[in-house]
Symmetry: C2
Subunit: 458 residues, 2 copies
């Protein structure tokens, strides 16, 4: 049983007022994100700032008292980066949810960090503009969270990851000072690119309190959507690699393994499994129909049974199958979602390796992949809340294979708590040490999300 | 007269052998870049490594003896970042010029830093691929230099700056250790994005010794090129802003002020000046012709006299006018090239401000702009090698205006030596201090390009 410092909590309440909550339900909710990981005990308090001033006051208090602060958006993270534990303040950005500016001429928006991704796009649509980052969680995740994790999603091969959509930001430093990074211009090289350094820093370097995001013209015209069944997942992976190699640039290209498809089918009450693995391809832009014909030809030449539709509703229906994957897996048990990425050409090899690992450990590893950018999500599903040893062993082998194929252990979810054990394998000790020193420059007292990305102990 | 440490030079020669040159002509050549800035005296030695090992040996020597090292590619920089002075080793990457790998399926290349930008594209063209960064110096500048300065160019509005084309790199640290950053995958969020931090760091954090660059499919089909005269530069700026606001995305959009055009005309022996300011627009891709019609309509509606051609040779001839700008200015005297960037919608206001500054100081400031991304190059041309006081005063006003319009003092040239005096105006003291601390993590002895970006003294 961990003692809560009640005097400290009272002082926090007295200093920050009604933005502090110590309601047990609030404290409980911040112990988890969507990774399946739950902290060992509830945090000290939840602070829900309404303004930059509130964030600064919170950080000043934390700085003075040496209290760890966990920045958190909607809590949709998949690596445990935003979960709060004993003695920590969880700083939730959800009340800072104003769109401060939409500048149509300069194709940018200025937003508070708690703005929901989809809400921003709803505001932009009448202006013919669009914020491209498209994580599967976009209906509920925040722009600040997208930035803190450098979120990816389904549309990255064509439209880039979050990093490509952020021009600048305001951050509150560990000691409460406010700093403005980046610019409103599309070019700018004054000093080091701290905007890029903050993107994907998972709340360990500063609290993002405002962002200047780059907008794109909303693609117009009908989209072409292709759904194709393959006998084997390796075949489907080869077809997706061939589509990319042919210089087509689909807006989205998603690959669903047979076991993943079966799981989705059971969840949705559809009979999807027996037909094999599934490849979904969506093309947009002026030449969508013509490009889709080429993609279908490639897919068929590699053994795929393909159908194509130019109907947006029908296309959306096909993609809804893909978007049901995470809920389908969660309905079956506790899920450990992996997030490896390999060079696109290595997708077939990575899928073959997953098959070998499945056989070796006698387990099923349902997998979906953002095939256009070589990012795979192998899922381990198990009962109870403890990750079984053989799952860790299988995951270990999976990471080793991924690194051997020239890949990276996390394409878009981040390191958080779940991937820390493999950080050194990818970066090497020298780089881990260097990265920790950079964190120390921003946060000498180690109060910003300590224990995330890096283990707390040195 | 600065004393050269001859014993140290001998030890360097003995340690590194024939990659060291102390020939007076070599030493002299490293005192300048293309900025007009010349260091006060020649450097200690030029080292031209042939391998990563050579770079490591050089940095180990420098580290042991506390000798400053200035990394340098082709010396085409426009901010003085790669010029060497008394007691410094200039490390020239030009002999590390191998293309190590071209991977067509993964759309990436692995290159040594001294590869010339255009040479890479010559090697890529038969494969239908392309390295997009397109600085005006691309025929002679190196990929390593592009990365160290986050080079821009003419095609950034559509194809991004260098940052968008680099996946990873190997760097040699100040103490000679080798470190691998980034990855071969298009996604990857394992730890902080040190690749992005190194891009644009102007040789102050590490020596880039290898890079994994992202390639794009070479645009196919004919390009549409539009040339349009306007009575005033503000009118031309309004037209370019309107083209962008209409959601057209030209590959290039260049604006040439009347005095710049006049200078180019005199240089080329053509009568270009009397017709006003000039806007060049190039559109590529499947819909180039249709989009060009829309652009022409917008340009005419805003007072432009536009011609359009689908002939590539004719289009290239029009762009050759733009590319003659820098040589035309250099032929007239010493040139101080500025590099401000403003939000695109502020281009007309920035041009108006330049006109006001011209009148106030009784000088002509020939200006070209990458209008698609709001990046302007106002040029100050003067006799002799000393920048006259009134030029500094005019430049000061120009920067103040640019910052007031939401801009940045350097869009693509970098800070180097020339922009240091304005660094704090844009970043603020807190951020300058933080950036210096980050440098200290990489380079505690301050031997990597000291005095560049930041003043040497604290």
């Amino acid at each position: 049983m961990i003692e809560v410092d009640l005097a400290l909590r009272d002082e926090l309440l007295a200093t920050l007022g009604d933005i502090v909550s110590t309601a047990p339900a609030d404290l409980e909710s911040a112990r988890a994100d969507r990774s399946g990981r739950v902290s060992e005990s509830a945090p000290l308090a939840i602070v829900t700032p309404r303004s930059i001033d509130d964030v600064q006051a919170t950080m000043r208090f934390a700085h003075e008292h040496g209290i760890p602060v966990v920045p958190r958006g909607a809590g949709t993270g998949l690596a445990g980066a935003s979960i709060g534990g004993a003695g920590e303040i969880v700083l939730v950005t959800l009340a800072m949810n104003r769109i401060l500016e939409i500048n149509v001429d300069d194709e940018l928006a200025v937003v508070e960090p708690g703005v929901i991704n989809d809400d921003l796009n709803v505001a932009l649509e009448p202006r013919g503009l669009w914020f491209a980052p498209d994580p599967a969680s976009k209906a509920i995740s925040t722009v600040g969270g997208n930035i803190a994790t450098n979120a990816g999603g389904l549309l990255c091969a064509k439209y880039g990851v979050t990093r490509e959509s952020v021009l600048g930001m305001k951050i509150v430093l560990a000691d409460g000072r406010l700093m403005t990074l980046g610019h409103r211009t599309v070019k700018g090289v004054t000093g080091y690119d701290l905007t890029a350094l903050l993107i994907g820093s998972e709340g360990t370097l500063g609290v993002i309190v405002e962002a200047i995001v780059k907008l794109r013209a909303l693609p117009t015209g009908p989209k072409a959507t292709i759904g194709a069944y393959f006998d084997s997942v390796e075949q489907a992976a080869r077809a997706s690699a061939a589509v990319t190699a042919s210089r087509l640039r689909p807006a989205a290209m998603e690959l669903i393994s047979q076991s993943a498809l079966q799981g989705i089918g059971e969840y949705l009450g559809l009979d999807l499994g027996p037909r094999g693995s599934y490849l979904l391809v969506q093309l947009d832009g002026a030449a969508a129909a013509i490009e889709a014909d080429s993609a279908v030809a490639i897919i068929r030449s590699l053994g795929g049974h393909a159908e194509m539709t130019m109907d947006d509703a029908e296309g959306e229906r096909l993609f809804a199958i893909r978007r049901s994957f995470h809920p389908a897996m969660s309905a079956r048990g506790t899920v450990l979602i992996e997030d490896v990425a390999v060079p696109r050409s290595q997708l077939p090899a990575m899928f073959s390796a997953i098959t070998v690992i499945e056989q070796k450990y006698g387990m099923v590893i349902p997998t979906v992949a953002h095939a256009g950018d070589g990012n795979l999500h192998p899922n381990f599903v198990f009962p109870g809340s403890e990750v079984p040893t053989e799952v860790w062993d299988a995951a270990d082998e999976l990471f080793e294979t991924c690194l051997r194929l020239g890949g990276t252990l996390t394409g878009e979810h981040g390191v958080g708590i779940l991937k820390r054990r493999w950080l050194r394998d990818e970066l090497g000790q020298d780089q881990v040490d260097l990265q920790r020193e950079l964190k120390r420059v921003f946060d000498p007292g180690n109060i910003l999300n300590p224990g995330k990305i890096f283990y707390s102990s040195l």
